[in-house]
């Protein structure tokens, strides 16, 4: 049996964007086809398209969450615009931006959690696994985003 391995980083990207969770057969198809002699470049292109397609599928399936992200973004933009228009002092501006930015990050993470929870439940997995998903996948990302948010602000 051909045990050729696809590019590690591409596999990691598929895993990071959780294509493997919601679309496991797709990842299996990519591996099967790669082992018939496809190139690493082919795998990269396919992995990129798989991430894009999976995101599209998720957004289509969860339009209400997409709307929530849009509303969050608009609210954040309104805060930024108000701070600029009303010439709020610099220190206070940083504080307000920090709080609203973190709130926006929380909204996005919560939305992601709900989307994944729904996908997970659709796959007939248990509630414990959903909790594990939150712990394993979303918490580390929350820390990274938190740090990134503070750095930017």
């Amino acid at each position: 049996m051909n045990r050729r391995q696809p590019p590690r980083v591409a596999v990691w990207i598929l895993d990071f964007f959780r294509v493997s969770v919601g679309n496991e057969p797709l990842v299996g198809d990519l591996l099967e086809e790669f082992r018939t002699g496809r190139t690493a470049g082919w795998y990269w292109r396919q992995a990129f398209m798989a991430v894009v397609a999976t995101f599209g599928q998720r957004f289509r399936a969860h339009r209400q969450y997409l709307l929530a992200i849009l509303v969050g973004w608009l609210a954040e933009s309104s805060v930024v615009a108000a701070l600029w228009i009303f010439q709020i002092p610099l220190g206070l501006r940083g504080l307000v931006l920090g709080v609203s930015g973190l709130a926006a990050i929380w909204v996005v993470l919560y939305v992601e959690y709900r989307v994944r929870l729904q996908l997970w439940n659709n796959n007939d997995s248990s509630e414990e696994e959903s909790d594990e998903l939150w712990e394993r996948v979303l918490s580390p990302r929350l820390v990274i985003l938190w740090c990134f948010g503070y750095f930017v602000l």
Partner: protein
């Protein structure tokens, strides 16, 4: 006139590939079939996205197979066209043929 939306170009390709392959069609043979006929590389992710939309419309059904070692322990997802899917493909064919008829520019004689 049939109710519901028309099949998009890529969706139609996927439906026709599914009809050609019959039973036990999954992502790899479907994308190979489209690649063979169109001569262009096909993203398996796009095939799945199209199949997902078709399934939502009730034009195809799917079931999971058993995980296999050569696929890294992942199962295959088998797709099958439904009666509504066949009707929709026929309707699209009729519409396209009707639109195509009498177009001299595309028949070769008009060039």
């Amino acid at each position: 006139m049939a109710r519901g939306g028309y099949l998009g170009e890529f969706e139609l390709m996927v439906v026709l590939a599914l009809i050609r392959l019959g039973e036990d069609a999954y992502g790899v043979p479907i994308s190979r079939e489209i690649e063979k006929r169109s001569g262009r590389e096909v993203a398996i992710g796009s095939v799945y996205a199209a199949l997902e939309r078709l399934e939502e419309k009730g034009l195809v059904t799917s079931r999971l197979g058993e995980p296999t070692a050569e696929r890294g322990g992942r199962a295959k997802r088998y797709f099958r066209i439904t009666d509504s899917g066949l009707n929709e493909a026929r309707q699209t064919q009729r519409t396209l043929v009707s639109l195509w008829k009498g177009l001299l520019e595309l028949s070769g004689s008009g060039l």
